[in-house]
Each structure stands twice: as C-alpha cells, then as structure tokens.
C-alpha cells in the first residue's frame, strides 16, 4: 500500500478562525475548525471524509485547496507545499486540483451560460482560440452526460442533478489530477445521488482521478471510497481502509456513527442495538480538555478527561486516536508499541 505514490500529503493542518471581542476588538479566542489533521491520499484512490455537521469536513476540504489561509501545517501536492506558495504560484498550481461543491444551486453563476461556466477555467488558464475552447466544452459535456444543445442555457433551467454535472464538467475542464468533492450529493434526491456517484466513479476510471470525497452519508462513502477518515471536532479520530473501518471500527465515535446507518432488513433492524450519543458536539471554540469526544463517549474513562489520546496504528493502514486502543490492540498482538508513536502531532494543542 505504501509503495503507491502519495499525491497529497497533509501534515498537521490547522485552521483556526479568530474570534474578536471586547472594546478594542482584540482576539479573544479561535474557532478550531480544523485542528491538527494529518493524512495522505495516494494517487488514483478515493479518500472518504465522514463526520457529523460542523466537525470541520468541508473546512478541511477547502483548506486543502487553500481556499482558506491555513493557520499552521503543510499541504504537499507532488511534494510542493501549497500552504506557503504565493498567490501567483498558487494560481499556476490550480489546474491540478479542483473542487465540486455541495449546493449545485449556489455554485453556478446565474448570469453565465453553461458554456461560459464550463469554459471559465479554460479562459483563465489557456489562450486557446475560441473554436478549440468550444470543442473542449462540448467534449466535457459529453463526458458528464449533458446534451450539447444545453450550452447556451442558464443554470436556472436545469435540475439539481444536471447542475451538479455542470459543476463536475467545470472541475474537469483543466484535466485535474485531484478533485475535492465537498458533499456533492447532499443536496440531491436519492435517485440522482446514485447517478452522480456513478458518474464520479466512471470519470475516476476514465481520467485516473484522485478524490477527496466529503460526505455524511456513510453508505455512499462505503460505496465510493477506498479509505475513510472519520472526523470529530476538527480532528481525525480514525482512518482505515473502507472494509476494515466498517467491519472493525476501533473508535467509539465510529461505532456510534456506523450504528446509525439504516438497516434494510426490518427483522435485523428491530434487533439492532443502536448507540445513541447524548448531547451536542462541544463548541470548536472551546473544546473539552483531554479527548475531544469525552463529553459524549459511551465508554468514557477517567484518563479521557485528562490527556489527549495519540493516534496509533491499530492494524496496518488503520489508525485511530483513543485511549481504549492500546489495550484492545494488546490482546491481538504484541507489536503495538512500535506502531504507537508512528503517527503523532496531535498532542500540542493550546
């Protein structure tokens, strides 16, 4: 697995939004939307990011493309750290990384035609003659399954699924290698969700794309992703290959999330023990001491309220941050001590 080429390396990424207050508008705190996130994405794979609302999934996705200025940490694409590039150098890097947005209604300019929207990246990064651009626009429309005759129409004339296809075509225009899909299916109805996800998979196969797929729909992530990262309150609590994560979740939060997935078989559904979490997510401006999840964890221990757990490798490629793990891992094998401190960097929070 680690022989494959790492396309994207995110190391200890932090994104804090400052809070100003008081008479002099001084900074009185920060919303720690993303707080020390480390992960890699290999070439050609799909990394799913799941978590509940407000846990920093979308912010992490946007920060990876540097749509927000990061507070700390580095984002390496092909070994180049884009977190510190100047705007002009960043602009030259943009064609390699694109984004598909959540709300297809809001992500298309209502005053531009479909051809204008899909052609905007071409206008920005190429100086092709008009006919060549139009040829490319038609090619993209074919690739995402839009009728070429739609090129002159405006976004308001399309359904949600079609709009999302326009958004995908725009993201594909410059032959990117890496696409951040920020809940691309959350605003669509279920039959269209399947279409769009299948389209994304086809395109991945066709163009060799790498996805960072942000979603709160666990079954959809299971379908599309190769590896899954679970986020809670700005941190990654568990990261594992998809089958491993769904079959052997190591973190209590992942267990709770998975138990909330609807079960199609009614007899199984009735017998199922759901883990229902109590209370709300704590404010990211004032996270709890110790483990972020200690306020709601059903298996909370004293140590959880005191020290923050470090991320350990439970099994090859399966990482989790929980105080329960050294014990569980100890039952299965003795090699956990070497693995323990391999993935680090989460203990230095203010």
């Amino acid at each position: 697995m680690s022989e494959r080429k790492k396309l994207l390396q995110v190391i200890d990424l932090k994104l804090h939004f400052p809070i100003y207050g008081g008479l002099l508008r001084r900074q009185v705190g920060a919303v720690k939307a993303v707080d020390g996130v480390t992960f890699d994405i290999f070439e050609g794979e799909t990394l799913g990011i799941v978590g509940e609302s407000g846990c920093g999934k979308s912010t992490a996705g946007r920060a990876v493309l540097r749509l927000y200025e990061t507070t700390a940490g580095s984002i390496l694409i092909d070994g180049v750290d884009i977190a510190t590039l100047s705007q002009e150098e960043l602009r030259k890097k943009r064609p390699a990384m694109q984004m598909v947005f959540q709300d297809p209604q809001a992500s298309l300019n209502p005053r531009m035609t479909v051809a204008g929207i899909i052609g905007e990246p071409l206008d920005e990064h190429t100086n092709w003659p008009r006919a060549k651009k139009l040829e490319r626009i038609y090619e993209l429309m074919d690739a995402v399954g839009l009728n070429r005759d739609f090129a002159n129409r405006y976004p308001h004339a399309f359904s949600g699924g079609q709009r999302q296809r326009i958004g995908i075509a725009r993201a594909l225009a410059l032959n990117p290698r890496f696409i951040v899909c920020d809940e691309p299916i959350a605003a669509l109805d279920v039959s269209i969700q399947a279409q769009v996800v299948n389209l994304l998979e086809e395109l991945q196969e066709q163009f060799g794309l790498t996805y960072m797929f942000i979603s709160h729909d666990l079954s959809m992530v299971r379908h599309i992703a190769d590896r899954v990262a679970v986020m809670y309150l700005g941190k990654i609590v568990e990261l594992a290959p998809v089958s491993r994560l769904y079959d052997h979740p190591a973190h209590p939060y992942t267990e709770a999330l998975l138990s909330a997935v609807p079960e199609p078989d009614p007899s199984l559904e009735r017998r199922k023990d759901r883990i229902v979490l109590q209370g709300d997510v704590p404010s990211p401006a004032n996270p709890p001491k110790g483990c972020n999840f200690c306020t709601r964890c059903p298996k909370v221990m004293d140590i959880c309220r005191e020290t923050e757990p470090v991320t350990v490798e439970v099994a090859p490629g399966h990482f989790a941050a929980c105080h329960l793990i050294p014990q569980t891992a100890g039952q299965t094998g003795g090699a956990e001590v070497e693995h323990n401190q391999t993935r680090i960097q989460q203990g230095e929070v203010v």
Binding site: S107, N152, L174
Partner: protein, 300 residues
Amino acid sequence: MTDVGTIRPPRNQWWDVWDQFKTHRGAVIGSIVFLLICAFCFIGPFLWEYSATYIDIRSRNQGPSWAHPFGTDQLGRDIFARMMKGGQVSLAVGIAAMVLSVFLGALIGVLAGYFRRLDGPLMRLTDLFLALPLLPLLLVMSMLFRQKLSAMFGVETGMFLMIVTAIAITSWMRTARVVRGDVLALKEREYVLAARSIGTPNRRLITRHILPNVLSPVMVSATLMIATAIITESALSFLGMGFPPDFPTWGRLVSDGIDYLQQYPSRAMLPGVFISLVVLSVNYIGDGLRDALDPRIRGR
C-alpha cells in the same frame, strides 16, 4: 435531441438581452419616447427657424400659434426653441451626472464590500459625504472653481463640468451602500468560491461574477439618478449658482415660468411635463433592461 444539426454555437448574450427587451412593452414605448425627446432637443434646433436667444420684444407673451407652437415669453423669445435648447443641457447634465455618480457609487460599493480592509474607511467616507449639505458645498465650489473653470473651458462648459461634478459627488452614496450590501452577500456565494478555486484573480472575479449580479440595484438607482440630477440642476439654476440667467435649461424655464403661473400656466408646466416624460421613459427603459439582463426572468 442528439441530432448534431440542432446544436447552435453559443451566440452573443446581448442578442438574448435584445430579444427580451423587445418584449417589454413599457421599455419599448419608453425608448421611443426618450429617443423622440432626444431628437427634439438635439436635431430640432437645426430645423427650427427661431433661435433660443433671439429677442423680439413686440411679440411677447403670445399664446400658441403656428409660428410659435408653445407661445413666446415675456421678452418675446420663442418657447419652442428655448425648450429644445434647454433640453440639450438638461439631458446632458442628467445623463453625465448619472453616469459619473453610478460609476463612483458602484466602484466604492464594490471595493468596500469586496475588500474587508477598505470597508471601514470607505463607508466612513460615505457617511461623511451623506452628511455634506449640497447647497453650501456648491456655494463653496462655485466660489473656488467658477473663475478657473470658466477661464479654462468657457462659461457654459465650465459650468456644465462643475454642476455635473457637484451633483455626482453628492449623490453616489446611496448606490455605494446598496452595492456594498449586495457584494457582501454575493462574495460568500459558492460560485465565487468556485471561481477562486479555478484560480480567477480578484479583478476578473469582480467583473465576471460580482458586477453582473449587482446590476439590478445599480440599474434602478441609475434611472432614478437621471431624474434627481435634472431636478437638482434646475434648483441650482434657480438659485443663480448654475448656468448664466439667459441660458435656457428645463429647470430654469420652470423657475422663470413660476412668476407667470397665474396668467400663463403652460409656461411652467411644459418644461415640467418634459422632465417628467424623460424620467418616466428612462425608468421604463431601466426596468426593461433589468429584466432583460436577468436570465431567470428572460424567456418568460
């Protein structure tokens, strides 16, 4: 539907705008009226035998006749000719002041809304201008610049420049505030973020995504501005701070006619009617344009 023959290449958007504009009845009538008034003011003087300043004291205070369709004034000048000449100035002042004021307002509004660092200073500047009273400001301006401008450009052009500037710099604030508010909302929209993720630089982000979407409020304030500018110009001329007294403008004709309102009411009302017609037709044109420029309304 997949027939290749049916695919039309993208055509210029302005054709769609024109197609929609043609279907807006008010806008079409408005444009015709406005064009007729423009023709009356700018082409009329070449065809009409009387000059606006020719004094024929023996035929003063006449009523409408074939020789003088609107009659003559207290000095025997042909009111028809004076209306044409006055219209030139009023229209020019109205349109020039509108263009300048909307340009200033949109520029300041976009800068303040888009760049957070400029927001505070520019909005305080707007507040400052809102607090400026027009007339004392004009008094000061005419005292300071009248001589210089007259010497540089001649009396009429000098006054024209001064009045247009004065009206523009005292009327851009409302546009700026409305535009700023809209820009603040628009720049958080996802399509702006999408454009940024493509790598569109700020200047093209503004011209391509922000400006077209704040067009509606700008258009509305622009059409209202023409009316305000014409009326402000007449107020200034009335106070003797505008054009010289013998120089006809619609506003001046109204204020001249007020003295004779009892005997000859048409003398004050005719220029008033023309001002209203211009304002109304421009409003309808603006209405039609706004609808035609919005793709969501277009085609309905």
